[in-house]
Amino acid sequence: MDLVERLFAGDKRACARLISHVENNVNGVNEDLKKIYKETGKAYVIGITGPPGSGKSTLTDKLVKLLRKEDKKIGIIAVDPTSPFTGGAILGDRVRMGDLNTDSGVFIRSMGARGHLGGLSDATSAAVTVLDAYGCEYIFLETVGVGQSEVEVMKSADTTLMVMVPGLGDDIQAIKAGVMEIGNVFAVNKSDRDGAKRTKREIDMMLDFSKKDWRPSVTLVSAIKDENVDVLLEKIFEHRDYLLESNLYHLERKANVKNEILSLVRKEIMERVINNDEKHQLLEDLSHKVALRIENPYTASEIIINELKK
């Protein structure tokens, strides 16, 4: 049996290997993805994002345990930062998901962002497709701890959960700018600590300014004590129902795949320049000239695009 057949048969090693192929862009992986794509799209994708250490992994662990009571098959992709200097990474999200590890209905995969900005990795969309084909009914996508601009998860997830914590202080102000926009559902985790209610109030106030049709709810939870996580899961379902009842579910997925197609096009164009000796040399020569101000970047990019058209 080939990898794709094994994947459809529910073979865990095949699923793991295909995700590696996706991550490493192994020759022929697109052919495999083409074969499985038709069969996918059934999984519901939940993005989990928020500041570093806010409890994203611990909360994912608890949410997944609730879904496991209904015997749903779950996939988890957890992304951590890659060192820009060495390309190495320590992927530690599994530490908080110890008991899920040996549950055969849960597949967990850690990924390094590998230089990709935006909180995910280049490979996450395709990895979601693989887990979907593997039969996962819910797929959780944990981003690297967000700072300012990591809004990408909303383009890969159906429902995005923003995990905040008490005591962020002025950071909330900073976060609200871009990242607050992306949460469909909010949790204030670590509500066993002081200040949780205040944080909830602050977030509620910010959300009141938004004029969108969907008003995200803000739920106080404690992942570590497993308090109110069931209520939070209900809020996630409410958002899912909202998407399904309006036509938004389709529209958002359409916007998401449009994004995915564009990024594939971008990647292909880059590769045609970088992996072709002649064109790469042209790029080198042009860069040399631009640095000396003999040429400018705008004409240089036109020259390369014209070269690609030939």
Binding site: K12, R13, A16, R17, I19, S20, E23, N24, T82, S83, T86, G87, G88, A89, I90, L91, G92, R94, V95, G98, N101, T102, F107, I108, R109, S110, G112, R114
Partner: protein
Amino acid sequence: MRPIRVLVAKPGLDGHDRGAKVIARALRDAGMEVIYTGLRQTVDQIVNAAIEEDVDCIAVSILSGAHNTLLPKISEKLKEENAEDILFIGGGVIPDDDIPFLKENGVSAIFTPGTPTTVTIDYIKTNVRK
């Protein structure tokens, strides 16, 4: 070039995690992706994580003295799961006299205190499946 993926694991009830963290950081600084699963992992948890993460190497740190029972159990489980192609190494406080037994039982190499991390890094780079 794709990064080498390594699972760094602490089996059993052993709470000594400094060495595992030193190794995890050294491997990361050598450009590897290190999956760290935390303390008190069972044999099943270690092997399952290695499979899901599709790692090239399992690096187990053990200072509890239980190496002669736990490490062979990990190799057995790997065999059972048809995953013997994953390089399996160990380290920690392990007497020299026990090393031949462990090597006969599926552990490729053991790195004891005082071994420079560069030795481990080179060993992994040369011995993982290509």
